[in-house]
């Protein structure tokens, strides 16, 4: 008998002021004792909702509208809250998606452990030594016992998440649900926590349902992987099988967005389009509008989740054809035409640099009470940006990447050193000169949701730089704005000009942000982690766009990232920054293939390698 058994589970959000959303639709799966199961899918496809349903933590307007959840043979679908308590944490614990807010801000870490033990004193007995047990748990996640007397706000994000993990294991549960437990943390920290998790899981033997949109990690950690799309499970396979012989076109698309940046030729795919609106009824396969191999029947017949290969798949093509592999190879071929972005070995001649950064340092003075501390954010950094080329700036969070971007764009003035734009010094510009300078230097932001004013239309956003920097107004500006939208692949432009940001998807917004940066025809573009907030499935799409713009328009780009794969795809040159010091610099492939600096190596080691577990 399986530990967790979910049958035909449906969850519906019925908000008062909008249509009901069937976020989870007749989902069935099992998790066995000690099994590590991954749950993959783009954001919004119902993973967290499913997780919360399993934990029986759904709040209004969400409710379970069908199906059953059995835990260890016991039906817990409708068990009253009070009866659930003895099951909670003792058998079934969790780590939430955001670590920032899952610890009570006004009590110490010790108390957070203590009240967990207290709540289950009948199971644990009263003579438990809280400090000793908590220390032991903290040590499991590599934290010192001094953390016990601290309040959550005194811990870093990574530490908080470790505490959350230690808490989850406090009662040696049989099942732990992890919902994107490391999202938002620094890559190296993420890696650390996940490695720790894997070791602990092997040692303590609890079962895991690991929710993530980061498939590299899931593939590497999990025994079995389920792929979810639009509220349904579309594929369920052993991890190794999923890596090499996935069957569903959606799984193929997701997996295609991964590659090893150390390879000579790196290719990534993307899935165009966006998930369907689940408040509308759909006939046929939900993936059909985005599916490259869809056939006529897909529009009308809704496929069932049926056994295939070593698991289950929900796809008509797989269902019909005896040999599914053939179908998928055809699919791969089709996709390759327009949904693939490849980076080979770049061999571009050196052009004259447009922007030269020479020996730049930045020291921040921070006043804490009466004592002033000096922080060396950037330490003697020099580099040059050349037209038509991308220079990647890689480093951990807090390593000074953004400070460099701010100095480059004139937001911040360097403490020492100089920045020259076409031989003009631009490091100490006055207000007016700065405005003129910004005609030539533009920014692409990280968060597409914050980069566009939610109350201004796309046309307005684009018209401002056109007016201020190029003097275009009225119909002229509108025509140019439309051109820009076409350039970034939002076509026909008329459909987008009068939209408000919330009417666009994340990827479309990021395209608008890019269009706005292009509006004044800049020579230099600084892109600060432009894809890190986007879903994996569309990252490659934006990378391809940036690449094309840089090459076609001869733009010099500084590409800031902590993700070596995207650096490998886009950049001609890579610079690695560690605590304000440039520790490594050179042609992308050289730096990545023969990393010398320990930090670069750590970054490389942090890149998940799907299927690595089986090989090792």
């Amino acid at each position: 008998m399986a530990l967790l058994e979910v049958r035909d589970l449906s969850v519906t959000y019925s908000p008062r002021d909008s249509a009901a959303v069937r976020a989870v639709d007749r989902v069935s799966f099992e998790v066995h004792d000690g099994e590590f199961v991954g749950l993959l899918g783009e954001s919004g496809c119902g993973k967290s909702t499913l997780g919360n349903a399993v934990l029986r933590l759904l709040d209004r307007p969400a409710a379970i509208t069908g199906g059953t959840i059995r835990f260890d043979g016991q039906d817990v679908t409708t068990t009253p809250e009070d009866d659930l308590r003895s099951l909670r944490w003792v058998d079934l614990s969790t780590v939430f998606q955001s670590s920032m807010n899952s610890l009570n801000p006004v009590i110490t870490v010790r108390r957070q452990f203590a009240d967990t033990f207290e709540a289950h004193s009948d199971a644990l007995g009263n003579d438990l030594d809280v400090d000793a047990r908590a220390t032991e748990l903290l040590e499991m996640v590599s934290l010192d016992r001094s953390v016990l007397s601290r309040f959550p706000h005194e811990l870093s994000g990574g530490m908080k998440q470790r505490v959350a993990l230690a808490l989850a294991l406090a009662l040696e549960p049989r099942f732990v649900l992890l919902d994107e437990p490391t999202t938002g943390l620094d890559v190296v920290v993420q890696r650390d926590i996940l490695d720790r998790l894997r070791v602990l899981q092997a040692r303590l033997g609890f079962a895991v349902l690991f929710i993530s949109h980061d498939l590299g990690t899931v593939m590497e950690l999990a025994d079995r992987v389920m792929v979810m799309y639009a509220g349904e499970i579309v594929e369920d396979q052993p991890a190794a099988e999923m890596v090499t012989r996935h069957l569903h076109p959606y799984s193929a698309g997701l997996l295609g967005s991964y590659a090893d940046p150390r390879d000579q030729v790196v290719e990534v795919e993307f899935i165009p389009g966006r998930p369907p609106d689940l408040s509308q009824p759909h006939a046929g396969c939900l993936f059909q509008p985005r599916c490259p191999v869809a056939v006529d029947a897909c529009r009308t017949v809704h496929p069932e989740l049926l056994p295939a290969s070593l698991g289950q798949v929900r796809c008509l093509l797989v269902e019909q054809s005896g040999d599914a592999r053939v179908v998928l190879e055809k699919a791969a071929e089709l996709r390759r035409r327009d949904q693939v972005f490849a980076a080979g070995l770049s061999e571009r001649a050196d052009a004259e640099p447009v922007l030269v950064v020479d020996g730049v340092s930045k020291v921040y003075k921070t006043r804490r009470g009466l004592n002033t501390t000096l922080t060396q954010a950037v330490d003697d950094v020099s580099f040059a940006l050349r037209p038509g080329q991308v220079t990647a700036l890689v480093g951990q969070s807090g390593s000074g990447k953004t400070t460099i971007a701010r100095i480059l764009t004139g937001v911040e003035r360097p403490t020492a050193g100089s920045v020259r734009f076409k031989d003009e010094p631009v490091d100490h510009l006055g207000r007016g000169a700065l405005r003129k300078y910004r005609r030539h230097v533009q920014l692409v932001f990280q968060d597409p949701f914050s980069a566009l004013n939610p109350t201004r239309t796309v046309a307005y956003a684009l018209s401002r730089p056109l007016r201020n920097h190029l003097g275009l107004t009225g119909a002229e500006a509108r025509a140019r704005a439309a051109e820009l939208l076409e350039t970034v692949g939002l076509s026909p432009a008329d459909q987008y000009l009068d939209k408000l940001p919330h009417q666009l998807s994340g990827g479309q917004r990021q395209r608008v942000v890019i269009a706005r940066a292009l509006a004044p025809e800049p020579e230099v573009v600084v892109a600060d982690e432009p894809i890190s907030m986007l879903d994996v499935s569309i990252r490659a799409e934006i990378i391809a766009l940036l690449d094309q713009l840089v090459r076609d328009r001869g733009i010099a780009m500084l590409y800031i990232t902590h993700d070596l794969l995207s650096a490998r795809l886009l950049a001609d040159e890579v610079m690695v920054l560690n605590q304000g010091v440039m520790v490594e610099r050179g042609p992308t492939l050289d730096v990545i293939a023969e990393a010398k600096d320990p930090y670069t190596r750590k970054l490389l080691a942090a890149i998940p390698r799907p299927g690595a577990r089986d090989i090792a």
């Binding site: 307007p61 980069a451 706005r516």
Partner: protein, 304 residues
């Protein structure tokens, strides 16, 4: 009411309004307020008060200061709510009183909202020393006991009149709004789209006016309603204490004269009850509208 400013999603509310704008010929903000049941009732009530105030000369049977009737009479067909100790018609005073309350609410509300915006926006956008100084004044304005200050100011004033009351209320009533607006602008100014506007070459004034303020509309409206409500209450209170102009007909002076004129002992309950009830209804209309806006802009409070 007391909602923590941090939780108010004014951007989302503005977006909802813009959406509604596009789908209807009426202004978007009106459409979304109208959709909310509580808001709708509040708006209808307020509209009724406005109509009464505007049409006061038509509705009121007598002039508010006409004192040719019998003194301290109980309700009758000729005087629905009786007469005052001076022989004036209570019902007519009640009708004209709506004018005073609405004028004070409108003018003092607008003035203190303007001050609050100027101070709050400047402090929040510029930060640094300017912020320190302005924040000090905001906090000072918050903690100083308002009514005693009003009383002292009114006590020194050489002439009494509605204008003075409005000034006093404005001077003492802007701080809370300024504090909330400052907090909101501090949140909004860190948005990337503000940086983007700078890179697009927009000036600071334009950024505040076109990028930030539209996203704060709901906050400004709520702030205005709070200020207007406070002003209406303060006017009534000051007038009741006898610090207003006794010639102005307002619900506060009515209550003052009722209590001085012996309504309590002669049992003229109508004279006593009517002005208070009118005031309560006006306050209710504002409260209902506030509730609606709160529910719209604070996702946690949405009823579901």
């Amino acid at each position: 009411m007391t909602t923590t400013p941090e939780t108010i999603d004014t951007e989302a509310l503005r977006v909802t309004a813009l959406d509604a704008d596009a789908s209807s010929r009426l202004p978007g903000w009106f459409v979304i307020l109208w959709r909310n049941g509580k808001c709708r009732v509040g708006m209808l009530m307020l509209a009724a008060f406005i109509v009464i105030a505007v049409l006061a000369p038509v509705i009121a049977p007598y002039g508010p200061r006409l004192d040719e009737f019998g003194a301290s009479e109980g309700p009758s067909a000729a005087h629905w709510l009786g007469t005052t100790a001076r022989g004036e018609d209570v019902f007519s005073q009640l009708i004209y009183g709506a004018r005073t309350s609405l004028i004070v609410g409108l003018v003092a509300g607008v003035l203190s909202t303007l001050i609050a915006m100027a101070v709050g926006l400047t402090a929040g956008y510029l930060r640094g020393v300017v912020d320190e100084v302005l924040s000090f004044f905001i906090n000072l304005g918050l903690v100083v006991p308002v009514l005693p200050l009003m009383i002292v100011l009114a006590g020194y004033a050489p002439v009494k009149g509605l204008g003075l009351i409005i000034i006093v209320i404005t001077v003492t009533g802007w701080a809370y709004g300024a504090r909330i607006k400052r907090a909101q602008i501090i949140t909004l100014r860190t948005r990337d789209y503000i940086t983007a506007a700078k890179f697009a070459g927009d000036s600071t004034a334009r950024i505040i006016a076109f990028e930030i303020v539209p996203n704060m509309i709901s906050l400004i409206v709520v702030g205005f309603m709070g200020a207007a409500l406070g002003a209406i209450g303060a006017e009534a209170g000051l007038a009741f204490l006898g610090l207003g102009d006794p010639q102005t007909v307002s619900w506060g002076t009515m209550l003052n004269q009722a209590s001085l004129g012996g309504a309590l002992t002669t049992g003229q309950w109508a004279w006593l009850v009517a002005p208070g009830l009118a005031l309560a209804l006006l306050i209710t209309s504002f409260t209902l509208m506030n509730f609606g806006i709160d529910a719209l802009s604070n996702p946690h409070l949405r009823e579901d």
